[in-house]
């Protein structure tokens, strides 16, 4: 009995830490609609800054001063990020800020490495509370009791702030309907900056109070941010109390789950998230009717079904891709092959994101299932290359059929998070099902047949498979199916009213995207010669998102340009310096600010703007 109680208390400690991070994330999303990838970085920086301060300030007072100063410093960083970067791109497409926060993650990682070095740093414990308290005769870290209290304390403080102050009322109002708040004359800019300050503060506080519990390290950011996303989504986006409830739920499930199924730690949180989203799509305490009008800039003109410019671009690209290999060396061919594969991966994601209007955070699942489809067919069925390549899209489509059925029942961020959960479940399946997938050690020896072992032959194969699939996608977007999808995206209600089965079309689009990502994955497997669970990882999904957003969402050429640019950037910069991540991050930031509609979107918009200027009297 005493053991169960202590385990419960331990769960509450973890819940408090989770809540601090998640509440800030939820707050920021609720008000600004920004999916803040950099939230984990705020958490990590909070811990690092607190480490530096706490090793200099003595005594319990010094410790708490360090924690508070660290939280404030991170809050300022958050406000600066909002004011310098995000404020410039709110008018762009809905997801563009996400790209910017991703760039900030890259920069923060390298900044932490440069300032604090690569080694884990074990911070000082809280003076006076180093030891254990006795709870029903069992030792329990005294400091953890402080944390257990801190969660509800912060929750109470936030409640007072939001319900007893004018500013808090405005924040709540903005969470419900920010256009209305703006229409009533509330300055959004200062409200958003303040919200970012508070949200980042909370993340920094969450990181800083970890000091007596764990070593500060460079992996804290990404390890935390996914967990925090799960909590926010389970609790309901924008709901602080929901985040608290979800944090408790997940932490307690984890604390007791490991007693029964110690192996399940890898997937437990994502299983919970998937279950909650399927049963209660808006999270435990979220509200389904959050007003979300698309900002005017996001309403793009309908895509032309092949203007002269577009056709010229297409012919040019095709000629380039056909002729380039003649001058590229062996390694150049490998890079070109990779670009083709990633272009299809990005184009398939673009298909559901752009025309489909469904943003997937887990598209790597289908890319990875394709890669595994080919590899498994070789490993277990002794398939030759051609049939194995056929198995790739089949497995991917099967996965998309299943996961898609659940996912298209949701929309917006909830859809994104459910796809992420499914991708995570597929990932842990691949790493845990040792006898079937080879686990983390992967499947080796997935090399092309003798004829295609030649780099040039393989490049042309990739060009035919991936280029052909991209052309097919173009065709699909211009076909009635594509128009139907766009109708469903722009106005689901009207589409429904004229007899379009919105869900079925979205489901079908999801499967098509999955299938084509599977072709990309299968080709990828043969180009690398081995398949590991990393193809299914979150970072792979994020890479695809970055490529699509870089290229621009509302342009057919976007994914191609995005893939070429992203691969090219890494190719050119990575060998130059250990700090290539920061440079890539900085370049993405510049691109995001200068071309808020993506590169291809910029090229399309430019002539029109000039025309507009000429027409002015």
């Amino acid at each position: 009995m005493s053991f169960l109680f202590v385990q419960f208390l331990t769960g509450l400690t973890a819940a408090s830490s989770l809540f601090l991070v998640a509440s800030g994330l939820s707050l920021i999303f609720g008000v600004t609609r920004v999916v803040n990838f950099a939230h984990g970085s705020f958490y990590m920086l909070g811990a690092y800054i607190a480490y530096s301060l706490a090793t200099r300030l003595a005594g319990p007072l010094g410790f708490w001063a360090a924690v508070l100063l660290a939280a404030l410093a991170v809050g300022v960083l958050g406000a600066v990020m909002e004011a310098l970067i995000l404020r410039r791109i709110y008018q762009g497409p809905e997801l563009f800020p996400l790209l910017a926060t991703f760039a900030v993650v890259l920069i923060a990682q390298d900044a932490a490495l440069a300032i604090w070095g690569p080694e884990d740093l074990l911070g000082p414990r809280l003076p006076g509370l180093k030891g254990a308290a006795r709870v029903f005769g069992r030792a329990f870290p005294a400091y953890d009791l402080v944390l257990v209290a801190l969660g509800p304390l912060v929750l109470g403080g936030l409640w007072l702030l939001f319900h007893r102050t004018r500013w808090g009322t405005l924040v709540r109002a903005a969470t419900q309907d920010r256009e209305m708040v703006e229409a009533l004359g509330v300055r959004q800019t200062s409200l958003f900056t303040a919200v970012f300050f508070l949200g980042a503060c909370l993340a920094g506080l969450g990181g800083a109070v970890q000091l007596p519990r764990e070593a500060v390290n460079l992996h804290m950011d990404l390890n935390t941010v996914t967990e925090a996303f799960v909590v926010v989504v389970v609790g309901g986006m924008g709901s602080i109390a929901g985040a608290f409830l979800a944090a408790c739920l997940i932490a307690e499930l984890n604390a007791f789950g490991i007693l029964v199924f110690p192996q399940i730690t890898l997937v437990l949180t994502f299983l919970v998230m998937a279950a909650v989203l399927v049963l209660r799509p808006w999270g435990l305490m979220g509200r389904p009717d959050v007003a979300l009008r698309a900002p005017a800039a996001a309403l793009e003109p309908p895509l032309g079904s092949g203007s002269r410019r577009a056709r010229l671009f297409l012919y040019g690209a095709a000629a380039l891709l056909l002729l380039l290999p003649l001058v590229a060396g062996d390694y150049g061919l490998v890079v070109l092959t990779e670009i083709m594969v990633l272009a299809l991966f990005a184009a398939s994601l673009h298909f559901i994101m752009g025309p489909g209007g469904l943003v997937s955070f887990g598209h790597a699942a289908y890319f990875g299932l394709g890669a595994y489809g080919a590899a498994l067919a070789i490993r277990h069925l002794d398939f030759a290359m051609a049939p194995a390549l056929l198995a790739a899209p089949l497995l991917a489509a099967a996965g998309a059929l299943l996961f898609g059925w659940f996912s298209v029942r949701l929309s917006g961020v909830y859809f994104a998070m459910l796809t992420l959960a499914f991708a995570q479940i597929a990932w842990s399946g691949a790493s845990q099902w040792l006898s079937f997938t080879g686990g983390d050690n992967g499947i080796l020896g997935v090399w092309p047949s003798r004829f295609f072992a030649d780099k040039l032959a393989f490049y042309y194969l990739a060009l035919v498979l991936c280029g052909g699939s991209i052309l097919l996608l173009r065709r699909l977007i211009a076909a009635p199916f594509g128009y139907t999808l766009r109708a469903a995206r722009d106005s689901p209600l009207r589409a429904d009213a004229i007899g379009i089965d919105v869900r079925r079309h979205q489901w079908l689009a999801f499967v098509v995207a999955g299938l084509l990502a599977g072709i990309a994955g299968g080709t990828y497997a043969f180009s690398k010669g081995s398949v590991f669970p990393t193809v299914l990882s979150i970072s792979n999904s994020v890479d695809a998102l970055v490529m699509v957003l870089l290229g621009g969402l509302q342009s057919l050429a976007g994914p191609l340009i995005g893939a070429a640019l992203f691969t090219g950037l890494l190719e050119e910069i990575a060998p130059l310096t250990d700090y290539w991540r920061a440079i890539v991050g900085a370049i993405i930031l510049v691109l995001v600010i200068v071309f808020p509609r993506g590169l291809a979107g910029f090229a399309r918009a430019r002539p029109r703007r000039f025309r507009g200027a000429e027409e002015e009297p």
Binding site: E119, N254, P262, E338, G529, S530, V535
Partner: protein, 403 residues
């Protein structure tokens, strides 16, 4: 003719090197070695590795290089992704014309590059990956591995653990391949020596995301007499803090893989639990002349003490140079032939690359943890020669795929 040219080049390199204080200036074209490792994915381990091979490289070139030509290492970062590592390996081959590949830390990356090496028929010296599969289940004739694998290090711990009176054992390991095979090997080896042992609990926290308090309580609830730990890095320090505070380690023996390596014990400082049986690298107490020379040179060059990764990097570079020197050529077949059975003197003792499975017999240090002047250290340690902790030749042959 060639001999004379070699000699001349060697002499000119020596003279120029000592005159200008530069490591290379020979007229001969350098031999290019390709290196790929996770320099941004896991800098705490891979930067010391790079320091190690850079120091060895400078020493080799100052002494005239190999075959009269200086060595040049082209090094890339794989960002911790196996797919990226394969692309870099291709770049090293096609664009940089490297004659052989070396490096890698993560097991899956080691395996990916080893498969690439077999496909492209290029020599690969896997430096740091631990998984047994690199030289056994998925071994191939192009791949050699320097560091003692999971099985060997586990066998060293199991030998010590079998001497303990403890009968009730619990295990805790990160939930991925390194953790699972580390536990499976340990259970098998310990059970063979001690049939009376009972396994009472196992915990598998997700790598990098341990809920340490809950894990510690769950282990304590099973009332084990001893614990076997495979956690490392951030997970380890969390686990140690919670375990110390909650009294998990009081009156319990702990055997712990890799914990004595400076990479992992240094951050624990004065909170290092005492008396754990660990494998590691007590650089501060090793009195062998070869090691003292290495230590002095390393501290002088980097103003920092070496880590386990530094030794691995240093030895990898020595091994690569020795292989080329013995082969007297740079074509793959001759390199493989030269590497099989190659004996090499290193700062921590002589090692052999076994012909049977291409695993080196490099060992590691086994001892107990303690705290000295606020730093975690290893005491009562001895060097365990890897040659004594390998399975029988028949078993190895059974595991390695036929060629």
């Amino acid at each position: 003719m060639t001999e004379r040219r070699t000699l001349l080049a060697g002499i000119s390199a020596l003279i120029l090197g000592s005159l200008a204080g530069l490591s290379i200036a020979a007229a001969a074209e350098p031999i290019k070695i390709g290196d790929v490792n996770s320099y941004t994915g896991l800098p705490a381990f891979t930067i010391p590795y790079r320091n190690g091979w850079q120091m060895a490289l400078a020493e080799i070139n100052a002494a005239g290089g190999v075959l009269g030509r200086p060595l040049e290492v082209v090094s890339y970062d794989d960002g911790g992704k196996p797919e990226e590592a394969v692309t870099r390996a291709q770049q090293l081959l096609s664009q940089d014309h490297a004659v052989l590949l070396m490096g890698t830390f993560f097991s899956n990356i080691g395996l990916a590059v080893s498969s690439f090496a077999a496909q492209n028929k290029v020599f690969f010296m896997a430096a740091e990956p631990l998984t047994d599969a690199v030289t056994w289940e998925k071994g191939n004739r192009y791949t050699f591995r320097l560091r003692p694998n999971t099985y060997m290090q586990t066998a060293m711990l199991a030998e010590e653990a079998a001497k303990l009176p403890a009968k009730r054992w619990a295990t805790v390991a990160p939930n991925y391949e390194y953790g699972t095979s580390g536990v499976a090997d340990f259970k098998k080896l310990l059970a063979a020596k001690r049939p009376d042992i009972e396994w009472v609990a196992e915990q598998w926290p997700a790598f990098g995301k341990i809920d340490a308090g809950a894990t510690v309580e769950a282990l304590a609830a099973a009332k084990p007499e001893a614990i076997y730990n495979v956690l490392f890095g951030g997970d380890l320090s969390k686990f140690v803090r919670e375990g110390n505070t909650r009294g998990l380690f009081q009156g319990r023996a702990v055997a712990s893989l890799l914990t004595g390596e400076p990479e992992y014990i240094d951050p624990l400082k004065d909170e290092t639990p005492k008396g754990w049986i660990v494998t590691g690298y007590p650089w501060y107490d090793i009195k062998m002349p070869a090691h003292e020379k290495f230590l002095k040179a390393y501290m002088a060059k980097y103003n920092d003490h070496p880590r386990m990764g530094s030794v691995v990097g240093y030895n990898t570079m020595l091994a690569v140079a020795a292989v080329i020197r013995k082969a007297a050529a740079t074509d793959t077949e001759k390199l493989i032939k030269a590497a099989e059975g190659l004996k090499l003197a290193t700062p921590i003792g002589e090692i052999t690359f076994r012909a049977i499975d291409h695993q080196s017999t490099m060992g590691t240090y086994v001892g107990k943890t303690d705290v000295r002047q606020g730093e975690g250290v290893m005491v009562d340690w001895h060097y365990a020669d890897g040659a004594n902790y390998l399975p029988s030749d028949a078993e190895v042959k059974k595991m390695r795929p036929a060629e």
